[in-house]
Amino acid sequence: MSLTAEAHVATTVATFPDIGSRLVAGVTGRESLPEYVSAGGYAAVRDVERLLAAVDDAGLRGRGGAAFPTIRKIRAVRAGRGVPVVVANGEEGEPASVKDRWLLRHRPHLVLDGLRLAGLLVGSDDVHVYVSDPAGAAAVRAAAEELTGAGVWDTGITVTVVDPAYVAGEETAVVRALNGGPALPADKPPRPFEEGVGGRPTLVSNVETLANLPLIARLGAAGYRDAGTAASPGTFLLSLSGCAAAGLYELPYGETLRSVLAWVGEDAGSVAGFLMGGYFSGVLGPHALDVPLDYDSLKAVGSGLGCGAVSVIPRGGCPVAVSAAVLAYFARENAGQCGSCFNGTAAMSAVLDALVDHRADETDLARLTRWSGFLRGRGACGTLDGATNVAASLLREFPDRVAAHLQGRCGDCAAGYGLTDPPYAMALPS
């Protein structure tokens, strides 16, 4: 296995047929305020209760990775004690994901309009944007400047820029950073919706989640549900890497990877497996080609859509090497706070490195198997769970490849399979 610093550049941005104008909406540069308003943006809200009901009926789920029903967070924050705070979370810690950066750079007004609606829904005009991407921050600031005095939404938007890090976008890390602390996760309880920025109930929502609110306001719940499945309604942004068609694709939930790969011109026969949900949801074998891309279908096969990032492990690539590279990233990039996490990720990474190099034995494999189950849920944030997901899924999905590495005969690794470092890290064209 060799590592290079190159990233997978999302040169293609496209929208799946027949889903209308939603998240991508044919936008290429930075959409200006007049352009966004002429497409119906920043529409006045006459009845907040009706909008609440529409968001509920639309079944919007969070796009940051956890797929939590957005309306439940909104209602909890709304019912909380004190004036709420709303944060648009654009800190895209997942290296294989590029969608938040794309939205911030190209559709800052869609995100800000979502922030405006979220503020109305929880009853607050204390609104924040939290990012690490400098170009995204610049686009948001330019958009906020356009709003000043334009008479569509008069508010002060606080933009906070932090250093990029895997854990910096975790919702309690967001709250800690906005409270003047380090952008590192905290243990729960309390959750931010109970006690967040300044001790007040805080809605931390991923920017893609917020970008869906103006769509729900414009389309209505029924119109919004014209795309997607009953339990995963609407569209989502797929960050696709590991193939020639690496890019950002807006899809209705429920399409299969087979249909998506055919649409983008990739040969499904050249796929050895997938890395799912960025680095969070583990690896899957080629059977994943026929699993609908929605939260429940992927959960049923022991995986997940997470933040919407899917990476192709091509034929000639090795799932063991991919898993080892992801674990090495976790061992390096974890917050260094919870002992079970910094020890557990290092220990699992060491076994996988040994496995890649044909140095591991059955005892090592038994320890990896034990840790992949026992360590689940033992960290304050999801990092350790992501690491156990990768280890457990590798053992479950690719026993033959693991056995080949134990026996010292992985032909693909011998032939030299190049991974970027971090693996499948995505970038937007500059």
Binding site: A186, D187, C338, G339, S340, G344
Partner: protein, 73 residues
């Protein structure tokens, strides 16, 4: 009694697991996680209270009972 454990603070002293092994689960490096969600039945309160008082880094805190108002300030 309801408690929370802050695993970002835990330094692996392990006194809690010695006092209340049914409540504090050790990993092989000596760091703990709660068994369950932090609701402690009366028969385990004594051990958990000793764990709380003995933790050198104050990683364990007792939570107010549900419904009790948050103190001002």
């Amino acid at each position: 009694m309801k408690i929370k454990l802050d695993r970002t603070v835990c330094d692996g002293f392990g006194l809690c697991a010695a006092h209340a092994p049914e409540t504090f689960s050790l990993d092989e490096w000596g760091y703990v996680s709660l068994v369950g969600a932090g609701s402690i039945p009366p028969e385990r309160e004594e051990g958990v209270r000793r764990a709380l008082l003995d933790c050198p880094v104050h990683a364990i805190t007792e939570l107010r009972p549900a419904g009790e108002p948050r103190p001002e300030g």
